[in-house]
């Protein structure tokens, strides 16, 4: 039942709120208040029309209410995160120009950064809740592409790996849909989780990306369990989600036991295999240990010896090279920027009232955090497993475009966080997909 007094009041309030996307959630809250008051007045003996009029009167001047809400609710860019992102990108580009491969990789990085800026802008202005409405098929389609690409030749391996980095974002809606507590949603989520793992194994990038999928997608499954979305099935789902993949992981480790042992040895006892697996870790450690706080490191031959056999060394270990050539102040600055980025994301997760916003921040935060951690330890001479570098800062090929889209989505969560409502995210049923 609608009442003209209520509609007129809400329309007047809405006219004062300039941010169009904020109107509906704010007016919904006011309408619920009026409805509560109207019901109370009816309960006390008023007629419905009279109760509606009285309830509206008690709300106060609609212009004042609208203006007050308008002052509070404006799109809020997260400047600290924007500055960190801009600083990481600029710093990475400058270092690549000064120290990296200027001819090949800098040009590519500049191209991907330009395309990435368009993706970032798109992600920033996009209503990020649209992700929650994504059907299941894009996840399965990308998984299929990742699994199929290696069959077309080794040149597609890196493209397959880069696509795998985007899988957690497509997995997000499946986790979010388990909020309805229905069995079919849980099954869909588990199916998505298994498909991501299968795609990673098929894409021949198994060890690092398998860990990536396990941590990021697994983290989201734990988030769903912690929020009570999995109900009484929680233990079964968690066991199903983590025990078989752990067994598969151990099996994969067992079948590649020799190369894994050599790699681990290369990290732990690098000096035992100085010309083999220990070569890169040893050189990187030397670069770091001979660097100064500001200025060129003490051993000038080291860098040439490091870069000469493989130009990619300077790209993949740009931070170590920069620390040696310019001082480890570079490492400190990059560390400060990524810590600031991480803290802003964690604060954002805690402050978001929209659970989908929290989940999006968690997903992208885990994706970036994991890569950053392994890149940093690689640049300190501990190449345990290979991950693409720090988003925005390192050269990551076409992945840079996906990274920048993800940064845009992160910023979009912060920008619209105050008005995002889970109740306004209408999701199609899982079976409909």
């Amino acid at each position: 039942m609608t009442f003209k007094h209520i509609d007129r009041y809400l329309a007047s309030v809405g006219e004062q709120i300039r941010w169009k996307r904020a109107r509906k959630p704010l007016l919904d809250e006011l309408e619920a208040h009026i409805e509560d008051r109207r019901a109370e007045l009816i309960h006390c003996g008023s007629q419905p029309e009279e109760a509606a009029l009285q309830a509206v009167k008690e709300m106060g001047d609609p212009i004042d209410v609208g203006l007050s809400l308008d002052r509070i609710h404006r799109p809020r860019p997260n400047w600290s995160m924007m500055c960190c992102a801009a600083a990481l990108l600029t710093f990475g580009m400058i270092l690549m120009w000064v120290l990296g491969d200027r001819q090949t990789y800098f040009g590519r990085m500049a191209l991907y950064a330009t395309l990435g800026m368009a993706a970032l802008t798109g992600g920033y202005f996009l209503d990020y809740t649209i992700l929650a409405k994504l059907p299941m098929w894009p996840l399965f389609a990308i998984c299929g592409v990742c699994a199929a690409l290696p069959f077309f030749g080794n040149m597609f391996l890196s493209t397959a790996a880069q696509l795998c980095y985007a899988l957690p974002v497509l997995f997000l809606p499946l986790v979010y849909r388990t909020r309805d507590g229905e069995k079919k949603s849980t099954i869909a989520m588990m199916l998505g989780f298994c498909t991501c793992q299968a795609a990673v194994i098929m894409s021949h990038t198994w060890i690092s990306l398998y860990i990536y999928i396990m941590v990021v997608c697994g983290g989201m499954v734990i988030f769903a369990a912690a929020n009570g979305w999995l109900g009484r099935r929680k233990i079964k789902v968690l066991l199903g989600a983590f025990v078989p993949p752990a067994a598969i992981f151990l099996f994969l480790c067992a079948i590649s036991h020799d190369s894994l042992t050599r790699r681990l040895n290369g990290v732990i006892n690098a000096q035992d295999d100085p010309m083999g697996m220990g070569w890169i870790p040893l050189r990187v450690r030397e670069l770091i240990s001979t660097s100064q706080f500001i200025g060129k490191g003490s051993s000038s031959e080291l860098l040439d010896a490091f870069i000469a056999p493989n130009e990619l060394c300077s790209v993949e270990h740009l931070l170590a090279v920069a620390s040696h050539e310019l001082g480890y102040i570079v490492l400190v600055v990059v560390l400060a920027l990524v810590v600031c980025f991480g803290i802003t994301t964690i604060i954002g997760i805690r402050r978001q009232s929209c659970i989908f916003g929290q989940l999006t921040l968690l997903c992208i935060g885990l994706c970036f955090g994991l890569r950053t951690f392994f890149y940093l330890i690689r640049n300190l001479g501990f190449t345990l497993i290979y991950f693409e570098g720090i988003p925005l800062f390192s050269y990551c090929g076409k992945l840079m475009i996906i990274d920048m889209l993800m940064v845009g989505l992160l910023l979009s969560v912060f920008r619209t966080g105050s008005i995002a409502r889970d109740s306004s995210i209408k999701i199609k049923s899982t079976t409909a997909n």
Binding site: E29, A32, D64, V65, I72, R351, S353, S418, S423
Partner: protein, 108 residues
């Protein structure tokens, strides 16, 4: 007795935080509870309440979450740790202020 509105607006944040420190509430419950406890002296209008709640949320003193109750989606507010600290500070400030006012009035 009619109370000057500015007296309420100066302490509105403290009163709302105090109510939320006891249990989570939605907007309408807050106005009702405030009115009940103050014996109808404080009748906060939505024009004051919702901008205040949203400001407290932006400051990180309260958190909002949605919950369905009797088929209706409600937006509940709950106090955060930082909100509790702010409440303690504001209460202390209020005690000093009211004691000082009392002394002046008592001495008049």
């Amino acid at each position: 007795m009619k109370i000057d509105r500015t007296l309420l607006s100066g302490s509105a944040a403290m009163l709302v935080l105090r109510l939320l420190s006891e249990r989570d509430m939605y907007g309408y419950q807050i106005t009702e509870e405030l009115s009940l406890r103050s014996q109808n002296v404080f009748q906060m209008k939505s024009g004051t309440l919702y901008p205040l709640l949203h400001t407290l949320e932006q400051k990180g003193w309260v958190r909002a979450y949605e919950q369905t109750e009797n088929g209706r989606e409600r937006r509940y507010y709950s106090i955060t740790e930082s909100g509790r600290k702010t409440l303690a500070d504001k209460q202390e400030e209020w005690v000093s202020y009211s004691t000082a006012v009392g002394r002046v009035l008592g001495g008049a």
